[in-house]
Amino acid sequence: MEKYSSGICTFREIIWMNSDFYSRKVFSLFDITILIQETIAIGFPDTYWIKAEMNKLNHYPHSGHCYPDLVEKRDGKVIAQMRANLWRDDYHRINDLFTKIVKEPLKNGIKILFLAQVTFRPEYGLALRIIDIDPSFTLGDIEKEKQETLRRLKQKGIYDRNRELQMPLLPQRIAIISVETSNGYADFLQVLQGAKESWGYHFFHMLFPSVLQGEQAVEQIIFRLNQIRQVIRHFDVVAIIRGGGGDVGLSCYNHYDLAEAVACFPIPVLTGIGHSTNETVVEMVACENAITPTKLAEFLIQKFHNVSVPLQKAEETMHDMAIEVLDQSKEQFLSEVKLFRSVAIGLLSGNNHLIRAQAQALSTHTKLLISKAESDVELRHEGMKKEAVEVVSRAKMKLENYQKSISILDPVNTLKRGYSITRLNGKTIRSSDEAKKGDQISTSVFDGRIFSIVDKTDKMK
């Protein structure tokens, strides 16, 4: 290629190019293309069912025709490719049926099973003319992609990640991924606005605009999710809202990348995509899915109700209970007071009675004691008197006895009876030994003394 593009040929080459210029059979381009056309018409007389990936649909709105690029890949490498024609009328017929069944229009990047005729036109070249497309094949393929997405999410263990996030008690700050002009977005905001007017519920919402269906949706929604992630502390939930778009163009919600981004999002993702077909994977992995944007807004309002109603009730309960507790306590207190009073009175009167009885007993006993003491004293007095006389008489008798004994002992009485006392020098002589001849002795008798001199002493044997 480089050689020709350089535009410079050697002399030898010029000679060679011209050597058999006139001896060759030369076709015009048209001739040769006619020949090819005939050959192909003979070689491929029938129509064929072919399966391929439609890399590009290449729909030209002006003419209404499509020129799809068809490829077959193996291990990610293109092993065959061919251009196709889908003429306007065929396109409309096929696309209508296809959209009705697959819920997606014909678009880039889908696998199709189509009926085609191999055509060759001199002016356009080789192409497959698509006569019909079997939508069920694509449907199966889309379902397969959905199943594959689900399988991968589950295998990675992220399928339940967003679903298991706790919905905030008050999902108040909403990051909305939607289109400003979409009916769904308008419905959603209208319901929230209604909640503000009816109940004073205040939502904060901010729109992160994105295409919501078709091929670009995957990339755009993921981009918006990443943006929200940067300001995530301002939001409680993310709501993906789409409405009024019918059931077409939703296969983006089965795309693995988008499903993963939603499943792994750190705050609850809510979906209100609004369609009647089977749930898409994104809706399945979202924390909460509502069938329409309106229902989603109602769900959020319900969350507010769930809080507001108990609040209201708490207020009432608080009031009622406080009064009840006070009343109860008051009643209890009053009944305690009553009880106390009656018990106190009972106690007092009982004690009063007792005291009176005691006083009575006391006075009775006192009187008794006194009278007893008096009689005792009386008795004692009598006894004492008797006793005193006795004591005196006894003493008298004793005294008389003593007197008698004493008088018996008086020596005078002895002397009177004829006894005498002999003394020598004043000393009483009791033995004959005490006096000797010549001693002057005195003998005392009852009425005087006799003086004598001892003649002799004699000792009795």
């Binding site: 108040q172 205040h202 904060f204 940067q230 009730k313 207020e315």
Partner: protein, 72 residues
């Protein structure tokens, strides 16, 4: 405690529920009653205020988005 205290909505609500439950089960004495009612009223106020207001400012968020874009 004042109205301006920074109490998480969920926490406020939970505390409120607990007080109401205690009251309903008659576990509150007259001694506590006044304090509890005062606290509960405060919590109700906080919750209600939150229901009816948000402090988010769109411009602030947009500025943050802008600056995080600039960082990249």
């Amino acid at each position: 405690m004042t109205m301006s205290e920074k109490i998480n909505y969920t926490k406020a609500f939970e505390e409120l529920q607990q007080i109401v439950e205690e009251m309903e089960q008659g576990e509150i004495t007259v001694d506590e009653l006044s304090d509890k009612v005062k606290r509960a009223t405060q919590l109700i106020k906080i919750c209600k205020t939150k229901l009816r207001s948000t402090e988010e400012d769109v411009n602030k968020i947009l500025r943050e988005l802008q600056s995080s874009d600039d960082d990249r």
